[in-house]
Subunit: 246 residues, 2 copies
Amino acid sequence: MSTGNGRAPYRPGAEGARPSKGERTRARVLDSAAELFSRSGFNAVSLRDIAAHAGLTHAGLLHHFPGKDRLLLEVLERRDLIDARELFPGLLRPGSPAPEPARRLRLLLELVARNSRTPGLVALYAKVSAEATDPDHPAHAYFARRYRYLRTELTGIVADLQRAAGTGDAVDPGVVAGQLLALMDGLQTQWLLEPEAVPMEALVRDFLDRLGLLPTDDPEATAGPETGDGAGTESGDGAEAGGVSR
Amino acid sequence: MSTGNGRAPYRPGAEGARPSKGERTRARVLDSAAELFSRSGFNAVSLRDIAAHAGLTHAGLLHHFPGKDRLLLEVLERRDLIDARELFPGLLRPGSPAPEPARRLRLLLELVARNSRTPGLVALYAKVSAEATDPDHPAHAYFARRYRYLRTELTGIVADLQRAAGTGDAVDPGVVAGQLLALMDGLQTQWLLEPEAVPMEALVRDFLDRLGLLPTDDPEATAGPETGDGAGTESGDGAEAGGVSR
DNA sequence: GTCTATAAGTGGATAGAC
DNA sequence: GTCTATCCACTTATAGAC
């Protein structure tokens, strides 16, 4: 019941080969599903809504996906594929090697900053992860695995940063990892409700800064011209590089 | 649409007077609704489910509540009434006076500890607050108000504690308040997914302790025989009084 | 690969009997 | 105060035409 026997195929048909019509329809459906799940959660959205948004009928949609549950899981997995491929490589292929700690810290802060520009995705994870708390939810196993993995990885990152910064081990890295993960999640709910009142990135930076885990004054850690999309990585809220403390 | 013109009556018919049959049915329905919303969120639960659980038909239920939306709001408001009456009095009656800071800190930690014993309520707030992120959700205004109020109150508490502890104002109380609120929320999702791996109370204590906001070694702050329900306030996970740091 | 048509069921809500 | 009966919109899912 919660073991999840069937994995999603995800056959991109080689790396750069031009996608077939079916593959393009699949992609359109996944885009629509992501957008609508983001807006209203999993339970409140129907296959007809998604199909209509993607420009086909719900019967046509079901030709590509065996059911609503599987569609959700593919949406979630595709997001990880795009969003956290380098920062958390083990999310998709368990055991994959990760970059060095300083780079991962930068990628983590970039992820928070990017989230501040994509309310849809943030809402998707906020809503679905809360729903998936129920053991019977189709994405329960996905999120349970995900959080366990993230806590483990963050614990490693924090421990490495402590070692590098010479902060000693007065603070348990596992504790900080759990707090950091909770902080990032909790900020998202607040931010979705009142975006202007909750500068997510600044609050995360401040948390890490108080622990001495932020590079002293490395301007590269603020703006990383790396993630492909271009655009100026504008912080918007005008937070100082070391957090917002007085 | 989001102004919420009609308030719930909540007429307890004097304070101690024995409730009428209608009032008892209402209460039963609210209990059932709270339990089922906790288990599956708002959208996934039907009025028929709730009515059946409370031992009446869904038409009978609708005699007491004008619709599903109003039922949800009454469930949420009743929880606040019971749970945070003293800690956050302004949640129900804006402008009500609050107890002194040290006592509020203790009440706050007690609230976290109590949550660790009531997964149902935690799940209710986790799921519905995520859903309510959507501006069209019936509880959107409720949660927007709630979070704004909580941030304001927590900012005051933190500032008072800083003054009392003589920690200075190196750390912005508003920042800490936002982080603390996010921490508590985020921990709940993690805890619901994997309770043994996430000692909520210890992680919150640790956060506050690192800021020097916890009373040095006051045993009273750990167990407060105050909240009426009795029961031993057992911590369960065996966390040290000052947090779990090494 | 996508459609129409349809099955079989559940949703919130109302009317009126008792 | 609670019931039965009913309405209508909408759900997932299947069968078979094009």
